[in-house]
């Protein structure tokens, strides 16, 4: 392994990264303290938009966390060597991002001092409570998975643990999608399409994050990524992006077919202001079509930098998609009295405004910084970086 070389080169970069991520994480914690001590009145969230920007960040991180583990699964479960050597980094990123996402989710609670209550009082009809098991199980299984990949003596078990991790990550993202799928009250949610859609979103967002992190680490080591590997990964990303587009299409087409959903669809697709813009420009154009064009372009698709641009666009598109689903889904008023025009002092029947506040952004970025800190420290102390030298003499994609 190139572990020694990696450590030497990274020495200066390591402390710089630690400083930058540490500062952002500290700002996030400060924001959480500010929100906690003053109450959520200092945020943009209201009794109409009850989940805001922190949830967009948290759900992105949690969804991408399970997706980023796919590289390891492809290696262990499906036996593809190129991915196998990326298994450890993929497992590490999965743990780090889940930790980052959960940090945001926990710190946004109205009573985050009652975390122990959340862990000891479990209502098993709640998908949130089931997710507590899915999250803790994910941490444990992936940790064991990394161990089986890292320790030569444990290699024999890697395939089995990898298989368990693969099943678990599907359950975990199903659980995340089910948070919304189980909501009958609001028109954006309450559909069984959401859990599988979240799974395919996790494939796409997770791989985009992996490609970014991998490139950054190769650069710090002055190493070149094998063009064959690069090509395989970018093609895989393109397939995932297209699959998310397909699910998005089915989601909206199904809604458009139901007369009771037409006002909601009109809001998202035509006259929803920021939500319409984020949908068409953010998710569809910049987050899906443009990266697809880059990835399939005969010249650009081969260039590492363009693949990075495509990955960044996919991540941006992912945030746009979650913002439209989460915030747009709440901005559209509840249909309490279908067939009536409704008004009240509680903003019934009105499109609910939302302006995310600075503390919410800081908390969200703080979660990303927590994930980045965990990754930075872990790659410093253990050999997580993909080592393609083991592939020499073999066909990369066997």
């Amino acid at each position: 392994m190139n572990f020694e070389a990696f450590r030497k080169i990274e020495n200066s970069v390591f402390y710089a990264l630690l400083g930058v991520f540490g500062l952002i994480a500290a700002a996030g914690m400060g924001a959480a303290y500010y929100m906690e001590s003053h109450g959520h009145v200092v945020t943009g969230m209201t009794n109409q938009i009850v989940w805001g920007m922190p949830h967009v960040f948290a759900i992105f991180l949690i969804v991408a966390a399970s997706g980023v583990l796919n590289l390891a699964s492809l290696g262990s479960v499906f036996g593809i060597k190129v991915y196998k050597v990326r298994g450890m980094l993929s497992g590490l990123l999965a743990i780090a991002m889940l930790a980052g996402g959960l940090t945001v989710l926990m710190l946004d609670l109205g009573r985050n001092d009652r975390l122990i209550v959340a862990m000891t009082h479990l209502n098993l009809t709640s998908v949130f409570a089931l997710n507590v098991f899915l999250y803790t199980g994910f941490f444990s299984i992936v940790a064991v998975y990394i161990w089986t990949m890292m320790d030569r003596k444990m290699h024999d078990y890697s395939k089995y643990v990898g298989f368990a991790a693969f099943i678990w990550r599907l359950a975990l993202t199903t659980g995340t999608g089910a948070i919304f799928a189980f909501l009958v009250a609001r028109q954006a949610y309450g559909t069984a399409l959401l859990p599988p859609m979240f799974i395919i979103m996790s494939f796409s967002f997770g791989l985009a994050v992996f490609l970014l992190v991998q490139t950054a680490m190769y650069r710090w080591n002055n190493r070149q990524l094998d063009p064959t590997i690069q090509r395989r990964l970018k093609n895989l990303l393109a397939v995932f992006v297209a699959a998310v587009l397909y699910f998005t299409l089915v989601y909206h087409m199904t809604n458009l077919y139901f007369a009771k959903q037409s006002a909601f669809e009109r809001f998202i697709l035509l006259d929803g202001g920021i939500y319409t813009t984020l949908f068409w420009v953010g998710q569809i154009l910049l987050g899906s079509l443009l990266p697809l064009a880059i990835l399939f372009h005969p010249e650009m698709g081969k260039k590492c930098n363009w693949v990075i641009v495509a990955s960044l666009l996919v991540i941006f598109g992912g945030f746009a998609q979650l913002y439209v689903l989460l915030i747009g889904g709440q901005a559209f008023p509840l249909s309490i009295f279908p067939g009536y025009e409704v008004s009240s002092s509680f903003f019934d029947g009105r499109i609910n405004p939302y302006s995310p506040s600075l503390p919410e952004f800081l908390l969200g970025f703080g979660g990303i910084a927590v994930a980045a800190l965990i990754t930075t420290v872990a790659v410093r102390v253990l050999p997580f970086l993909p080592d393609d030298s083991v592939l020499h003499g073999e066909t990369a994609g066997e």
């Binding site: 109450g39 009573r111 009652r114 009250a185 009295f337 009240s344 509680f346």
Partner: protein, 242 residues
């Protein structure tokens, strides 16, 4: 001698009976009058508390029920309308096709199958045996999942500190809350504050499980509506006139 003994015995006996009667009777009478449940007795599923609201008697602009609820439960405006909790609100309805308008109070519908209870991760959202849906503020973590799940927008999150609380109704920043059907009054055999305040008699409170209660008789006689009946939540609050 024996005659004297007998009369003394009779006198003491009569005195004791009279004293016992004086001591016990008021309690028995009060208990009988009030039907109040002793404090150490759990709520029973033999009852299901509910409400019938007649929108034809509910006047646009009248806010008496909202004011009474605010006073009873210490729910007051802080000047931040978008984050202020509202336990009960007046909703104005206009039918899109005909223009027919209605005015009615909207609050927690105290569902028999409450989505807020299903989704609550800690069990803080719960339904009491007598059908009242409540939040246990000791274990509410403020995740707001119940607010996402409620089809009636009945729940509010407490966004800031609140002073001047009613000792019967403790409230806390960072928790979710909603109409309790004035559970503290019901347990003292009083009506919910909103019902008591309604001069038009548009709100009727009672036991839906008792076929002889006024509310049950009215529901058996007139066409009543459950809001979003399509969701099959079997609401404890019913409406007449919409």
């Amino acid at each position: 001698m024996s005659k004297m003994d007998n009369s003394r015995r009779l006198f003491i006996g009569a005195g004791a009976a009279a004293t016992a009667g004086l001591v016990i009777a008021p309690g028995v009478t009060l208990l009988d009058l009030a039907h109040a449940r002793p404090a150490d007795e759990a709520a029973s599923s033999a009852k299901r508390w509910g409400m019938l609201i007649d929108s034809s008697k509910c006047a646009t602009g009248c806010n008496d029920c909202v004011a009474a609820c605010g006073k009873e439960n210490g729910v007051a405006s802080t000047g931040h309308p978008e984050t202020d909790p509202q336990w009960i609100r007046k909703v104005e309805l206009k039918e899109i096709k005909t223009g027919t308008s209605h005015s009615l109070p909207m609050m927690c519908q105290h569902c028999a199958e409450p989505p807020c209870v299903d989704v609550c991760p800690t069990g803080a959202s719960f339904k009491r045996a007598d059908g009242i849906v409540l939040v246990d503020r000791h274990i509410c973590i403020g995740c707001r999942y119940c607010m996402m799940a409620c089809p009636y927008k009945a729940r509010s999150f407490v966004h800031e500190e609140h002073e001047d609380q009613n000792p019967d109704v403790p409230r806390g920043k960072g928790c979710v809350e909603s109409c309790t059907l004035c559970v503290h009054r019901i347990d003292r055999d009083q009506q919910p504050a909103c019902v008591e305040s309604c001069k038009e008699g548009a709100m009727l409170f009672g036991d839906l499980n008792d076929p002889n209660s006024e509310i049950s008789k009215r529901i058996a006689t007139y066409a009543t509506t459950q809001v979003r009946a399509d969701l099959g939540l079997n609401t404890g609050v019913r409406y007449q006139g919409i």
